[in-house]
Symmetry: C2
Subunit: 175 residues, 2 copies
Amino acid sequence: MLKKLILKNRSYRRFYQTHIIKVKTLKGLVDLARISASAGNLQSLKYILSCNPKKNNLIFPYLKWAIYLKDWPGPKEGQRPSAYIIILGDTQISKNFWCDHGIAAQSILLGAVEQGLGGCMIASIDREGLRKALNIDARYEIHLVIALGKPREKVVIEKLGKDGDIKYWRDKKNI
Amino acid sequence: MLKKLILKNRSYRRFYQTHIIKVKTLKGLVDLARISASAGNLQSLKYILSCNPKKNNLIFPYLKWAIYLKDWPGPKEGQRPSAYIIILGDTQISKNFWCDHGIAAQSILLGAVEQGLGGCMIASIDREGLRKALNIDARYEIHLVIALGKPREKVVIEKLGKDGDIKYWRDKKNI
């Protein structure tokens, strides 16, 4: 059952942008992270939620989308995420976040997939740009941006070829 | 459904030590990590599995169990984990593991809980001691040890008190 959910939880990068995700949904996903393991139960992660077009537009330009798809700059207008959850680390609580943001992000994305949504953890971020755009205090480290939406693409898992190439790619049908 | 699983996935530190966990079960759990997100799909995490008393005894002395339970040195003989999954990072594949080990550990523990097992992510490790005991090559960074077993304790979630104290504790019934 969990395995099915994990298999469904691919990295989705194209979405039905007009699909609305409510702030209540995002809070529910963060709640899954809250009740997940936290080093020393310090709960040093904090979150920025975004699910309206204006705020989403502030975030989008600072994300790098798919390192192996050299000719693809990221989802075009109409296929962009409906929402984002930005995971921050509060340096006034801890200086070492261990892998708490990985634990949190996995809970959040599995929760999203369970609801028919999907997304992508993005660590390749213009952090200083994003910090300025959202006026994020220096106290907070920017760990990850989770892009969320209703997936508009098919992602399949392939066995590793003999060449050992782990890069994801798209075929003619954009799968 | 996922929320139920996450709520059940507490940090368990006392177990029915004689409960046998098969290597096949551990491989199934690592498989959940394998199909979870990996930065750039580099799959730079590697795993050491242990589910026999001899190997378990080699690992146990290098783990620090519960930072807030000052008078408790860790589970006594008979209540120790039946198995361990050690998460390593292969520095020949990547120098930056991001939060991949958090993602992997969360998948592994949720998978364990789904099967009636449970455990604890341990990052407080005598890494050099463990490296020597298991003869782990310098090429591998030791990220986490996941202790696994059939839980022999009750863990409840409490609301944060007014004093803001996030430390876990045990009552007279050892809950």
